[in-house]
């Protein structure tokens, strides 16, 4: 009898788990001025360092607990369009943002808050003496690029086209951090990443190249329709564009429009 009760309890628990998982987010206590509660921000992988910093400032100033999900912009856009719970979306290019807007998931008009430019990430000290995109095309050169499905890959493709350089990468990564990781590990000789990513990694230095001017990425940010905490979301977007927010972003290597 006791076993039966236990089994029944397990069954009930299983039902509760299966049906209850959908809504396990705590009700955020929303105050009118955007203070208090939780804020979920989906942001491009290239914003990891600067947004983490800004998130801490924002938490301290507003008392809002900020939770970040950093990944490739396109993947995040797909997650949002599949109903992932988020308040703010910051993308590394207009294209993934457009899919969110088209799906009716943007509460406002997206605004460009920073711009980013590509550099050639090489190991510290630049052992191969890379100075231009053309230096990446040697037969023994191992280069990592982002897949063209994600913004850094689209930008890399545009920059290579602008330079008239054809190169075969050894791998096409799912986001910019994965490309950078291959340089840090020493598995590739170079990767095309954003200036900000190269600056954030101690083992890596960024080689500027002129053709990157033809592949500047605008970073749009927007408050999402299904935001659980819209007031805090708007306050966060405002904070990004404030003097304090801009200072952090510029220090990370972003350009402010």
């Amino acid at each position: 009898m006791r076993l039966r009760t236990t089994l029944a309890a397990v069954g009930v628990l299983a039902v509760l788990l299966v049906t209850g998982c959908a809504d396990d987010r705590a009700e955020p206590p929303v105050a009118g001025d955007g203070t208090g509660g939780e804020l979920t921000v989906f942001a491009a992988a290239s914003l990891t360092e600067s947004f983490t910093r800004i998130g801490q400032d924002f938490e301290a100033a507003r008392g809002v607990k900020v939770i970040f999900s950093f990944a490739g912009s396109s993947g995040l856009a797909a997650q949002i369009n599949q109903g992932a719970p988020a308040d703010v979306f910051a993308a590394a290019a207009p294209a993934p943002m457009a899919t969110v807007v088209e799906a009716g998931n943007a509460a406002d008009e997206p605004v460009t808050f920073v711009r980013n430019q590509l550099v050639i990430a090489v190991p510290k000290g630049n052992p191969d003496g890379v100075t231009s995109l053309r230096d990446l095309t040697g037969p023994d050169r191992k280069v990592a690029l982002c897949a063209e499905q994600v913004p850094c890959g689209a930008a890399a493709r545009a920059a290579l086209a602008a330079a008239g350089v054809a190169l075969t990468p050894v791998t096409l990564t799912q986001d910019v951090k994965a490309a950078l990781a291959q340089v840090r590990l020493g598995e590739v000789d170079a990767a095309l990443v954003y200036r900000t990513d190269a600056r954030a990694a101690a083992e890596v230095e960024g080689v500027e190249f002129p053709e990157s001017a033809g592949a500047i990425n605008d970073y749009p940010v927007v408050v999402l329709t299904d935001a659980a905490n819209p007031a805090a979301a708007r306050a966060f977007v405002e904070h990004l564009r404030s003097e304090a927010g801009r200072a952090v972003l510029v220090a990370a290597g972003f350009q402010v429009p």
Partner: protein
């Protein structure tokens, strides 16, 4: 009387069993429901899809062969040869079963990568680099699939009657002859079961592959990697790729599992 006895299934078991079944099957149903059947033929013949599928089948098959060549002797050693630390070795060879595949990929990279323990030596001596090659895909797949084979073969060896091997030995057969003529035929079903499970596991491998082998179409982009990347932009493409992978896995498992893995 007998009929009512067998039909009396306790609700306490039936309810969780049904939920378990639904939990496992509903995602597969979801895939079928969302499949864009209308555009399926075009999607299937897209060159990228076929390239990834071919690469997946080829690498999974190579990985299974590698598992057979290395795993069967290892399983035999673990089952038949007492040596100090055998328990520990037996536990260690099954670690990849529970290790997150990404961790396996990182570990492979640290050993066979260009700056890795063995990889740097390979690079300097022979100019061979393994990451980002099809070989790396096969290695990643074999790493996660081999424990399946070893467990199946070792189980078969322990279940097999050693008297036949002893008889062969008394009749003058050498160790190798005994192994190939007596032991192997005896445990063939176990080897086949392990190979099928290993093949299916290799086919689905993702984490270790993307970490150790990267992603490049035609060279290292297997079906699971293609699914992951397709999800970034094109949900329909991801669904179609998933459906193919599901179909291949189900066909293989259904046609072979009952024969070799199933209970008599």
């Amino acid at each position: 009387m007998r009929r009512s006895h067998t039909r009396r299934v306790p609700v306490a078991l039936l309810v969780p069993a049904t939920i378990g079944l639904l939990f496992l099957l509903l995602p597969l149903v979801g895939l079928l429901v969302r499949t864009p059947w209308g555009t399926l033929p075009q999607r299937l013949t897209e060159p990228g899809v076929l390239t990834a599928l071919r690469l997946s089948v080829q690498t999974a098959t190579l990985a299974t062969l590698l598992c057979l060549v290395l795993g069967v002797p290892l399983a035999w050693l673990l089952a038949r040869v007492p040596f100090p630390g055998r328990r520990l070795v037996r536990a260690l060879v099954t670690v990849p079963l529970v290790l997150p595949p990404v961790v396996g990929g990182v570990a492979l990279l640290l050993v066979f990568g260009r700056r890795g323990l063995l990889g740097s030596w390979l690079d300097e001596t022979f100019g061979v680099t393994l990451p980002f090659t099809t070989t790396a895909v096969v290695m990643a797949q074999a790493f996660v699939a081999m424990p399946f084979l070893i467990i199946a073969v070792e189980g078969a060896l322990r279940g097999a009657d050693t008297r036949y091997e002893e008889a062969a030995a008394t009749l003058g057969a050498g160790r190798w002859t005994t192994f190939t003529q007596v032991t192997l035929p005896m445990i063939a079903p176990g080897v086949a079961a392990g190979a099928v499970l290993g093949w299916a596991r290799a086919l689905g491998e993702f984490g270790a592959t993307i970490t150790f082998a990267g992603n490049y179409p035609g060279r290292t982009q297997t079906m699971p990697v293609a699914v992951y990347l397709a999800l970034e932009t094109d949900l329909e493409a991801a669904i179609v790729l998933s459906l193919i992978l599901l179909t291949v896995s189900v066909v293989i498992l259904a046609s072979l599992r009952d024969r070799w893995v199933g209970t008599p």
